[in-house]
């Protein structure tokens, strides 16, 4: 069943167009990898899906509902959560606080949402409570189970998040996203700048994440890693999808052409 | 493409402005021959407020130095004029220059303190200094302490040019003093606008605009931000001090509360600039006219007038950040004081449009 899809997705930074009609799809239970060189538009795609860059409503659909125009917090409360590129831990928060903040707004029934929901009857603005209604944020992930997944975090839970090593910070960022029990987890360049052994440890968590009922999109520059974990792969170049397929059904030459734009 | 591109700040509107400004000045100079005394007083008010607004705009609009303490320079300049006249026997007209010089001297320690505070807190620094100066001047008994003082009659009578004006226009000495003050204000406003316009078109002035738009980029091409800020702050203090001296020379009476009034010398000035359009020379001109009209319409309502002014300033800052002039300029494309350099390309033939292939690379 299609969980999340984009249709002819375009995105702009001022006058600069970064995406030119991107179509991707994520089915329930799947892991999809998006590969591509620097500047291919992968991160822009993630920013569009999460609402950081907002655009036309029906270019992005989640469970059939148009979400392209929604604010990031409403999209998060629908269960689409991102591990941002560069981890982006909150430096003023400890490891444990970073994790807690990931779970504290799930479900989205706070007073502000209710006020906006009430006002939306008159203004025609999106109703955040109705839009977040399908996802209650409950599931296997709690502080304890995240600590089970990454035991080192429990030892360091009272440290500032930014005092940890790169790999540990990445674990915090993933744990923080899991705390809301997302339906869709978007991982933007989670292996960037990490040692291979650390990358292996982090990717080892992926099966457990999938077992918890979360579908995953990983954005990777590391093609080998992406092919290893993904059910399907999209390759992007210059703001367009240049290749789509199952890892076992596409050849190295196809990927090379889709990645660099030149025949091998 | 061998045709030459030229760099210019000249626009047709700019040229027209130049001619119009000269004609306007000529009329303004001979105006006292026809105009009533109250009109001359109104114009004096407009011209001095315009001068203050131009200098505040130079600070905040062009240099990002939001000062809420410019009353320090108005008040100190004015007080030094009174001190020079009363204590040292300087002719009041000559003492106007001293107002500027003393304001400049005050600006040195002020900048020293206020520049230690970054961003918005710079505003607080200038405010504290203004308070310190006000409280200190209020202790100065020779110029009246907390209650203030008046310009002595003999000093007023000794003002250069007054007797000539009395004879030439056949008016009493009080009216003659108003005419003199008006001419001085006219000269000051014209010099201020002309000077700022000239400055913004020099290499330094363009550097200032670069600094406002992008500090990092400006640094990378060698603009010394700290030095520019010092220069602008000192120049603005000098001009503000002169305006202060002139205002209180015309007024004839001074007190710490009136000379250092934050509402009059800072709040009104800020609203003039914001309403007219911050960061343009045209803005304060439009702003002071709107301000004067509002004052004429609403002056009888007291507090309501200030509420309207405050709300107008807020609305403009929120929804039309470039003020009334920004709205006019966007609609019409007119720039009366062009300071931006524009690249003038030679006329292109149809062939010129297709020569370079499209497609972006990032």
């Amino acid at each position: 069943m299609t969980l999340l899809e984009t249709h002819g997705l375009t995105a702009h930074y001022g006058d600069f167009q970064a995406l030119f009609g991107v179509d991707i799809r994520l089915d329930t239970g799947e892991t999809v990898a998006i590969i591509g060189a620097n500047g291919a538009g992968k991160t822009t795609l993630m920013r569009s899906i999460t609402g950081v860059l907002r655009g036309a409503a029906d270019q992005i659909r989640h469970k059939g509902t148009a979400i392209g125009h929604l604010m990031p917090d409403t999209i998060m409360k629908r269960g689409i959560v991102m591990v941002p590129e560069g981890r982006k831990l909150f430096p003023s928060l400890t490891v444990e606080e970073n994790l807690l903040i990931g779970g504290q707004h799930k479900g989205g029934r706070d007073l502000g949402d209710r006020i906006d929901s009430f006002l939306s009857r008159f203004t025609g603005a999106p109703d955040p409570v109705a839009l977040a209604a399908g996802h209650d944020g409950t599931g296997i992930w709690t502080l304890d189970t995240v600590y089970d997944l990454f035991p080192i975090l429990k030892e360091r839970r009272h440290n500032p998040g930014t005092a940890l090593s790169g790999g540990q910070q990445q674990m915090v960022a993933i744990g923080r996203a899991l705390m809301s029990n997302p339906a869709v987890l978007l991982c933007d360049e989670i292996s960037l700048g990490l040692a291979p052994v650390v990358i292996r440890d982090i990717y080892a968590a992926l099966p457990k994440i999938k077992a918890g009922g979360t579908s995953v999109i990983v954005v990777e520059q590391d093609i080998g890693q992406a092919l290893k974990v993904a059910d399907r792969v999209y390759c992007m170049m210059e703001g367009r999808v240049t290749l789509e397929g199952r890892p076992d059904a596409i050849s190295r030459d196809d990927i090379h052409a889709a990645y660099f734009g030149a025949p091998a | 493409m061998a045709a030459t591109h030229t760099l210019t700040t000249r626009t047709r509107a700019g040229t027209i402005t130049g001619i119009a400004a000269l004609a306007f000045l000529a009329v303004a100079v001979i105006l006292p021959a026809f105009a009533s005394r109250s009109l001359i007083q109104d114009l004096f008010f407009i011209l001095t407020m315009l001068t203050l607004a131009q200098f505040w705009n130079l600070l905040a609009g062009y240099s990002g130095l939001v000062s809420v303490g410019q009353q320090a320079f108005v008040g100190f300049g004015a007080y030094m004029l009174f001190a020079a006249t009363i204590l040292w026997g300087v002719n009041p007209v000559a003492a106007i220059l001293l107002s500027g010089v003393f304001a400049l001297l005050l600006a040195i320690p002020t900048a020293f303190f206020a520049f230690r505070l970054s961003g918005a807190y710079f505003a607080i620094g200038t405010w504290v200094v203004a308070e310190v100066v006000r409280l200190t001047v209020a202790q100065w008994q020779a110029v009246g302490g907390g209650t203030g003082t008046s310009l002595p009659r003999d000093a007023r009578d000794a003002m250069w040019g007054v007797t000539w004006i009395e004879a030439a226009f056949d008016v009493r000495s009080s009216a003659a003093r108003d005419i003199l003050a008006y001419w001085l204000a006219l000269a000051l406003a014209a010099a201020t606008i002309g000077g700022i316009y000239w400055f913004l078109r020099t290499r330094r002035g363009l550097a200032l605009a670069a600094l406002r738009d992008n500090v990092e980029a400006a640094k990378s091409v060698g603009v010394d931000a700290a030095r520019m800020k010092w220069i602008v702050f000192l120049v603005a203090a000098f001009g503000t001090g002169i305006a202060g001296g002139l205002i209180f020379l015309q007024n004839g009476r001074i007190s710490p509360d009136s000379a250092f009034a934050v509402t009059q010398w800072t709040a009104f000035v800020i609203f003039i600039v914001v309403i007219g359009g911050i960061g343009t020379i045209e803005g304060p001109i439009i702003g002071v006219l709107v301000f004067f009209m509002l004052q004429e319409l609403l002056a009888d309502f007291g507090a309501t007038y200030l509420i309207v002014l405050g709300c107008l300033g807020i609305v403009i800052m929120l929804f039309a950040r470039r003020g009334l002039w920004g709205l006019i300029s966007d609609r019409t494309g007119v720039q009366l004081f062009p300071v931006r350099r524009r690249l003038i390309a030679p006329a292109r033939g149809p062939a010129g449009q297709t020569d370079e292939g499209g497609g972006h690379n990032d």
Binding site: V52, M71, P72, D73, M76, K77, M82, P84, K88, F90, P91, S92, L93, E97, L100, I101, G102, Q104, H105, K106, G108, G112, R176, S180 | G64, V66, F113, R116, L117, G119, A120, Y121, A123, I124, W127, V128, V129, E131, V132, L135, T136, Q139, V262, T263, A267, I270, F271, V274, I278, A303, T304, L306, I307, L309, G310, G313, I314, M317, L318, R321
Partner: protein, 287 residues
């Protein structure tokens, strides 16, 4: 002995300034907003308490409890509808909008309540005092100082022990990433401004009971508050208290030398600290 008394009175006065400043410090710490209307908002709070006292006949402390949620709502709406639009890299809009707001509030209060000075009556509490050794301390100044400490402890508890405090700090660090965690930064800022105005209500209670006030007293109080915030180091609440105490002690010592020097001495103390420690006494490590 007289000097000990002077300094103690100065410290207690510093508590009042810290109360004026705590709201500013909170707002600057979370959203880097320098609110030039804060003093006038405090004065507005004092008028609100005055109205509640005279209309409902309540004790001023109870009246402040009634006024606090009203002030919270005013702050929330003000931030959501107006001030959030001014936040960004450009420092002009927030300064000029809050400056305009200051003028509007002052003159609206003038329209509503005239320029006559007012006072909220506390009855016998106004003159009550306790003697500790050689020093006599007014009960009301003591209460003010105690409230300042309670406010700072309370705000720190909110900051470091609650979910909303986590959201404050996270949004202050990085609003975009906070929004990916389900936080709506504009609401967090609105809540912070609401909270700042609750603190302002407490400040207003003591402003109105300790001395006379009129619609124009806001800016003069605000300047001490800003001095306290800057001396303390931007965004540090305990630093703000220390800053308030420095200003307060400088003022009472100045006044002891010459009554006309009271306010001047406070400003001079501020300038001296600025000279010696441009970033304040307790600058934040991360900024």
């Amino acid at each position: 002995m007289i000097w000990i008394d002077t300094i103690v009175q100065g410290v207690l006065l510093g508590g009042l300034y810290a109360l004026f400043a705590a709201g500013l410090s909170l707002v600057f710490g979370i959203m880097r907003l320098v609110n030039l209307a804060h003093g006038d908002l405090i004065v507005m709070g004092a008028y609100l308490i005055l109205v509640v006292v005279s209309v409902l006949g309540l004790n001023p402390f109870v009246a402040a409890l009634v006024a606090a949620p009203v002030m919270f709502s005013i702050g929330w709406v003000l931030q959501k509808a107006v001030l959030n639009r001014t936040l960004g890299d450009d420092i002009l809009p927030p300064l000029l909008v809050t400056f305009g707001l200051s003028v509007v509030i002052q003159n609206s209060l003038l329209e509503g309540f005239s320029a006559d000075s007012q006072r909220i009556s506390m009855g016998p509490l106004e003159t009550a005092s306790v003697a500790v050794g050689p020093v006599t301390m007014g009960l009301l100044p003591l209460l003010t100082f105690g409230s300042a400490i309670a406010v700072i402890v309370g705000l720190n508890q909110i900051f470091y022990r609650t979910a909303i405090g986590r959201a404050f700090r996270a949004t202050s660090d990085d609003p975009v990433t906070a929004s990916l965690m389900g936080i709506r930064p504009d609401r967090v800022f609105a809540t912070a401004m609401g909270l700042a105005l609750v603190v302002a209500t407490i400040a207003a209670l003591y402003l109105g009971t300790r001395s006379n006030f009129d619609p124009y007293v806001g800016p003069a109080r605000l300047i001490y508050a800003f001095e306290a915030v800057i001396i303390g180091g931007l965004g540090s609440l305990w630093g703000t208290l220390a800053g308030g105490i420095i200003i307060g002690v400088a003022q009472t010592v100045g006044a002891a030398i010459n009554p006309e020097w009271q306010i001047l001495a406070g400003h001079v103390a501020f300038l001296i600290v600025l000279l010696v420690r441009p970033r304040g006494l307790f600058p934040r490590a991360v900024d």
